[in-house]
């Protein structure tokens, strides 16, 4: 019931987000057809504007976006005007849905790999740092986690390329063709999140180790190893899980920087470029897509909480 309510609430939320995004992109200076070359006559510019209905009042454009406009045709009968959300003013031969259909699977693949990398490396790293607190594995692990959080992808990626692709020639420099092509982008994209996960995990473990139920378990004579694995681990995982939702939404929608550096045909580049290009419809479409993913994954996270922590219950 709780989750159904949450789902129902998502609809007005998405409408508000679309309206906000729509207003903001139109408020931003510069239009889709402002470019270096002015067409030979102002008429040409007018044709372009009217082709994409940019000459209409904003409310009408917004309704048209959802396909809620009916117009009189020359014969005088009312005709439903097609929805405009699918049109791109930048890539005029493509539909936005095609662009997303081409790019999203690629970004999702890379994002899933990076998510897997961040979890599979980050959780053990944080766990063992905490288990060996104050000893050199802790210092090493914490240092590694800190470094990966501090160094941004646009620094890590070129360094990885330089070492593994140019000097050692083990891996390709860019493009998206074989599994070999995916290794460097996965690491470059996942390393920040890996560090973040490791830090959250370590903090979580240290917090859990001091909680009362752990002390109680210890008093019952439970061994230290099984104490950490069986009891502390589950609770320590909670901050990681709540971070995992937005992190996954972030990763699955691609990364402008990584896709640009490795020339990966994902949709990350469009999140930035569509607004730079004043590609109005596409910008709003992508904002909605991102919002949808974020809402969905947060719901999954809340659900995961009930699985992990018996203290959490939603009514």
């Amino acid at each position: 019931m709780y989750f159904l309510k949450r789902l129902a609430f998502a609809v007005p939320l998405l409408i508000v987000i679309s309206a906000l995004a729509f207003i903001l992109v139109h408020l931003a200076p510069g239009g889709p057809f402002d470019r270096e070359r002015k067409p030979a006559s102002p008429e040409i510019e007018r044709h372009l504007q009217s082709l994409y209905h940019l000459d209409e009042p904003l409310w009408k454009q917004y309704l048209r976006y959802f396909g809620l406009v009916w117009e009189k045709d020359p014969q005088g009968t009312w005709q439903h005007a097609p929805a405009s959300w699918n049109a791109s003013t930048k890539y005029r031969n493509h539909n936005v849905s095609d662009i997303i259909a081409q790019g999203l699977p690629v970004s999702m693949t890379l994002g899933s790999l990076a998510f897997g990398f961040a979890m599979v490396v980050g959780i053990p790293l944080g766990f063992f740092s905490a288990a060996r607190r104050g000893q050199w594995p802790d210092y090493l692990g914490s240092f590694l986690a800190l470094v990966t959080v501090c160094i941004p992808g646009f620094v890590i990626a070129p360094v990885l390329i330089l070492v593994f692709a140019i000097k050692l020639k083990w891996l390709p420099v860019a493009l998206w063709e074989s599994p070999w092509h995916m290794i460097l982008p996965t690491i470059a994209l996942g390393s920040y999140f890996m560090g973040k996960v490791a830090r959250l995990m370590r903090e979580g473990m240290l917090g859990a180790a001091q909680s009362e139920f752990v002390t109680a378990a210890r008093a019952k004579g439970l061994g230290e190893t099984s104490l950490l694995f069986k009891h502390a681990f589950r609770i320590a995982l909670l901050p990681v899980v709540s971070y995992a939702g937005p992190m996954l939404a972030d990763l699955l929608t691609g990364s402008f920087v990584i896709e640009n550096i490795f020339q990966i045909p994902g949709i990350g580049v469009y999140f930035i470029n569509s607004s730079l290009n004043s590609d109005y419809m596409m910008t709003v479409d992508l904002a909605l897509l991102y919002a949808l993913l974020l809402i969905g994954l947060n719901l999954v996270v809340d659900f995961a909480y009930t699985m992990l922590d018996p203290r959490v219950k939603y009514e």
């Binding site: 402002d34 372009l48 005029r92 959780i123 860019a174 694995f229």
Partner: protein, 544 residues
């Protein structure tokens, strides 16, 4: 390691994502595509491949491989040579062109290409419903502009006609020296009517897609690749050098260089794809080919406001700029400093000398205008845009250099205002600036593509500068059929522009850079307009 109860799912979840991704990869990678004969890095992803939509040079280059016009460009000189038209006659007053099509013209799908297809393609580009950005390329034809503006409704009044299947008769408004160049321009190329009428905006996704050029479009995946395969029905197919060409859209210069160095690309042909910080080192390499390019970098004045409404002030600022220093210190690819607008090497034209570097005279002029030593000179602002692609800070570096030169030589204080690219074009069009970074790349090899834009009504003027004498000179030059006379008139106009009135300060002429190994790739030559017809290029097969 075992985890208790419900926590067990967390690792499987991570593992699920990981393996799902690996599976997706495996599925994605199993697409069987034969390797290309030639791989070219072309710049950013084309906005379109529709001849009536494309505007960017990278896009135009791909389109030229798919759709051909009445003329095509010679791969060496980039001058127009017979394309779909085998011969033509020009009337003595140079207003009527009669083109005779080749008799063996076929679409890649097998139907005949006729004169009606040419007429349809041109009228389509002019049709207001097509919203063609470059429709202006056709405005030299009688009634074309009126038809585009909707003042003439009947397409048969436009000066292009097909008296029979193999003849195209074109009537121009006035003599147009570069009309054959325009016939090779993609806006005027021949497109498949039936496919367009059937599929509308998405006609380029139709398969098979009829093409009139040397290649067919096999694959077009956005931001991934464009694959062109040889069109066996092209009239000159025997001379098409490559069977399969891959065009990679790469926006980052570093990535382009890396791919090239690792042998993943054979040719990189956009100057933006030379990492700016390495340009001076790279241009010295044997596989980097710099050449003079039909483009000029300049500064626009907004002449509608003080202090730049005074030509003496504009001339003073121009004279105080050390252009030599800009090309030596900032651009570094061997650019020539510019004292005039039309680039060196333009066909049938030599520019008059403009203003040089003379700080002494500059100070004198500024004093005459009422600002001795810069005293009382208002605070001014220089507008420039954030460079695309990232990393390349040429606009910013030039802005800083100018700021320093004008402060040191003239005592003028100038602020720098950097804005995002779309905003920049908007500001420039609305004259919402005082000084603005500018550049222009010629559409065709003729002085008019540079000088024509500073006539009063032109949308690309963007300085607010209006001069009746200049307008009259440009009109007179374009009505002139004698090449030498035309040059003389253009020279008078350019003198007015760059010596007397100075609404712009030319800084330098562009240098283009292509990089490829001449031992591995043949059939590509450097020319002024940086055009390299795809059908002439081939990779030399290395003997095993």
């Amino acid at each position: 390691m075992r985890f208790p109860g419900r926590a067990r799912w967390i690792f499987p979840l991570a593992r699920f994502f990981f393996f799902a991704a690996v599976l997706a990869l495996a599925a994605g990678c199993s697409r069987q595509e034969p390797p290309a004969d030639l791989t070219i890095i072309n710049g950013a992803e084309p906005e379109s491949l529709d001849p009536a939509i494309v505007v960017a040079q990278a896009d135009l280059r791909v389109v030229q491989g798919l759709f051909e016009g009445l003329t095509r460009l010679d791969p060496q000189t980039a001058r127009p040579v017979p394309g779909l038209a085998q011969t033509w006659e020009i009337s003595p007053d140079e207003k009527i062109y009669t083109f005779h099509l080749r008799t063996n013209l076929l679409w890649s799908t097998g139907e005949a290409i006729t004169a009606n297809d040419v007429v349809y393609s041109w009228l389509r580009a002019l049709d207001p419903k097509t919203a063609c950005d470059y429709a202006g390329q056709l405005f030299y034809i009688r009634n074309a502009e009126e038809f585009n503006a909707g003042q003439v409704k009947d397409p048969s009044l436009v000066g292009v006609r097909a008296p029979d299947k193999l003849t195209v008769r074109v009537e121009l408004k006035s003599p147009t020296a570069f009309f054959l160049d325009l016939c090779a321009f993609p806006t005027l190329s021949v497109v498949p009517r039936q496919t367009i009428e059937k599929y509308g905006d998405r006609w380029l996704m139709a398969r098979p897609l009829p093409s009139s050029g040397a290649f067919e479009l096999a694959i077009w995946r956005l931001n991934d690749k464009i694959r062109l395969i040889k069109n066996p029905r092209y009239w000159d197919a025997t001379n098409t050098q490559s069977e399969i060409i891959d065009i990679l859209p790469v926006g980052s210069a570093n990535t382009a260089l890396n791919l090239y160095e690792r042998g993943q690309a054979d040719i990189v042909w956009d100057k933006e794809l030379v990492p700016a910080q390495l340009a001076d080192v790279l241009v010295k390499r044997a596989d980097f080919h710099p050449f003079n390019y039909l483009g000029t970098y300049f500064v626009r004045f907004n002449v509608t406001h003080k202090p730049f409404d005074d030509a003496r002030v504009r001339r003073a600022l121009a004279l105080a700029v050390d252009k030599e220093r800009i090309v030596r210190k900032i651009t570094k690819a061997g650019e020539l400093p510019a004292s005039h607008l039309v680039p060196v090497g333009t066909v049938n034209y030599t520019s008059p000398a403009g203003l040089g570097h003379d700080p002494e005279l500059a100070r004198k002029l500024l004093a005459e205008a009422g600002y001795p030593g810069g005293k009382g000179f208002p605070h001014i602002e220089y507008l420039f845009n954030a460079a695309a692609g990232g990393g390349d800070k040429i606009h910013e570096n030039i802005a800083v250099e100018l700021q320093q030169m004008w402060r040191d030589e003239l005592g003028i204080q100038m602020d720098l205002r950097q804005v995002e690219t779309k905003v920049f074009w908007g500001c420039q069009s609305r004259l919402d600036y005082q000084l603005s970074r500018s550049s222009w790349i010629g559409d065709y090899d003729d002085a008019n593509t540079f000088l024509g834009m500073f006539t009063s009504g032109d949308g690309n003027n963007r300085t607010g500068w209006k001069n009746d004498r200049y307008d009259a000179l440009i009109r007179a030059a374009n009505a002139q059929t004698d090449v030498r006379q035309r040059e003389k008139i253009f020279q008078q106009a350019e003198t007015l522009l760059v010596r007397d009135e100075v609404p712009i300060i030319p800084l330098y002429f562009y240098v283009g850079i292509n990089y490829f190994d001449t031992n591995k790739v043949q059939g590509i030559w450097q020319n002024l307009i940086d055009e390299h017809p795809l059908q002439a290029i081939r990779k030399i097969k290395t003997q095993p």
